[in-house]
Amino acid sequence: MSPGEAGRPLLQVTDLKKHFPIRRGIFSRVAGWVKAVDGVSLGIAQGETLALVGESGSGKTTTGRCILRLLEPTSGGVTFDGVDLLSLPPGAMRRMRRQIQVVFQDPYASLNPRMRVGTIVREPLDIHRIGANRRERDEMVAALLRRVGLDPGMRNRYPHEFSGGQRQRIGVARALALRPRLIVADEPVSALDVSVQAQVINLLIDLQEEFRIAYLFIAHDLAVVERIADRVAVMYLGQIVEVAARAEIFRNPLHPYTRALLQAIPIPDPARARERQVLRGDPPSPAQPPPGCRFHTRCPSAVEACPRIEPPLVEVAPGHWVACHLHPGPGVGR
């Protein structure tokens, strides 16, 4: 059993690593490695949302990109519906992309500014030759735009004529066009205005219910994550430090980093003055992660073993996995 297996997974990631070389000098000698993703395992079931949470440098975006094969992982396995994605030849991978789509963070940068919105949404249908002819595809585009809450009459406009929230809806319509089974959504609402975020979150939840899509929802905002996730995986410096079901992780966070992350969220209610353990210091560079537990340099409860021994990710309660010496779990010494 691996952390994150939930029934028969649609997506299974095993011991994924992505190390980037640091090159120095005129001969671009490799002077070291940034271990952006360093042994990540996770699974996502059909129709499930797994939120991948962490701060900058945690490796959450790199993990998403390796799954999509926008980056080639250094090692590890990614299987989708039983098929090993990493050994697929390019042609087969392209066909597989029908089932795995992506929504990016910045709707200002991710849509081609020279293409009309209708063309942007129709492009994946054209590429994969879906529908009998152009007219049928145009009808699909109209239905998609309507489904994400846009007026199909606006299909001849360009992205710059739309607001940030509308552009993100266009991005979602495009991702939806091929009826994917998995959408990797990388910070899909964090560039949006507060009053518009809620609309897009609601849309993503609605679409999931309607089409049974699984989401890998990459985010840093835990309040947003609590709304949309079924399970949550917390990353720190390239590794998963805790995984649990949504209610469990918010009610009973075990890893000190997860706790710090939850406590750090400012509460929009002045009547609830709160106790907060403010972490000291910055996260270390992923090029030089601390030995032992990577969090020990900032951990308020570090013990003697923490700088020496890297804690493994163990299942401490059904479905609740944590990598911390304070929570060795029942399986210790097994």
Binding site: E55, S56, S163, G164, G165, Q166, D193, V194, S195, V196, Q197, A198, Q199, I201, N202, I205, D206, E209, H220, D221, L222, A223, V224, E226, R227, I228, R246, A247, F250, A260, L261, L262, Q263, A264, I265, P266, I267, P268, D269, P270, A271, R276, V278, L279, R280, G281, D282, P283
Partner: protein, 335 residues
Amino acid sequence: MPRILEVADLSTHFRSAAGEVRAVDRVSFHVDEQETLGLVGESGCGKSVLALSLVRLVPPPGRIVSGRIIYKGRDLMTLTEREVRRVRGREIALIFQEPSTALNPVFTVGYQIAEGLIVHKMMRRKEALREAARLMEVVRIPDPGRRAGEYPHQMSGGMRQRVMIAMALACRPSLLVADEPTTALDVTIQAEILDLLRSLKREYRLSLILISHNLGVIAETADRIAVMYAGRIVEEAPAHDLFASPKHPYTAGLLRSIPRLGEAGPEDGGRKKRLAAIEGSVPDLTMLPPGCAFGPRCPDVMPECRERVPGLHPLGARDRAVACFKHHDAEGRPR
């Protein structure tokens, strides 16, 4: 507490191809001594232009077209550029969202903190550098003696923001204007910086204007809050009152739409709880609707909202004001 700043009828416009853009439109507010005023609003509401207007730093093609900015009894609008420069930094200091663009990449951070002291306080270089290292300690930069010799790119975003705060504090200002000071930072670093700002405010008896789009940041920091929408203040209230009973439909909608920890609830028959979203999007200042700018998105919109712009009028006794025809008629009489 006496007032340190009183802004009356301030308007800052930008000339553009699409016509005159009213980035700040007849804004009035005040800040008491040692008070934190939270200025909350979404992108394009004019909050950053307002911050720059306070110290007369509006970049062209923008210009302040009217209003008064009374700082400690003096109207900054009547001062010469030279006099305003003395107020900037020494009396009113600014901190911005992105410290990497506000810092000069070719000077050490220690020197950049010291520079203000050399220019404004006529300190000698050596003395100023010593003071800079002390200020770095004040803003909780570890190993300040060594790090004073670092360049901005050698520091993390959180450390750079601390340097910005140290620069702002160098000349002992009375009023600090912080524009989205934690927006570019990770949430754990944000918590540290907010904690730092709160304790510095006490220690230095500062007044603070904190500008943010994040209602959590505002709730945890501000004594009083002004809500901006499309260049105007639409509601003003003590922090507790605003969150407990928002009066403007925009404020109410905003508070309802944000996800809050612990309120996602159990799944209801396998369905996740939806958020209460505000329909539509933030208006483009070049294409404002006639009447109330929030009208097209407002659930309570009335015919008169589409014709006239509601003014900001006091509401009840407790230091509250709202700009909405639900609460006042066109003459400002309570309804």
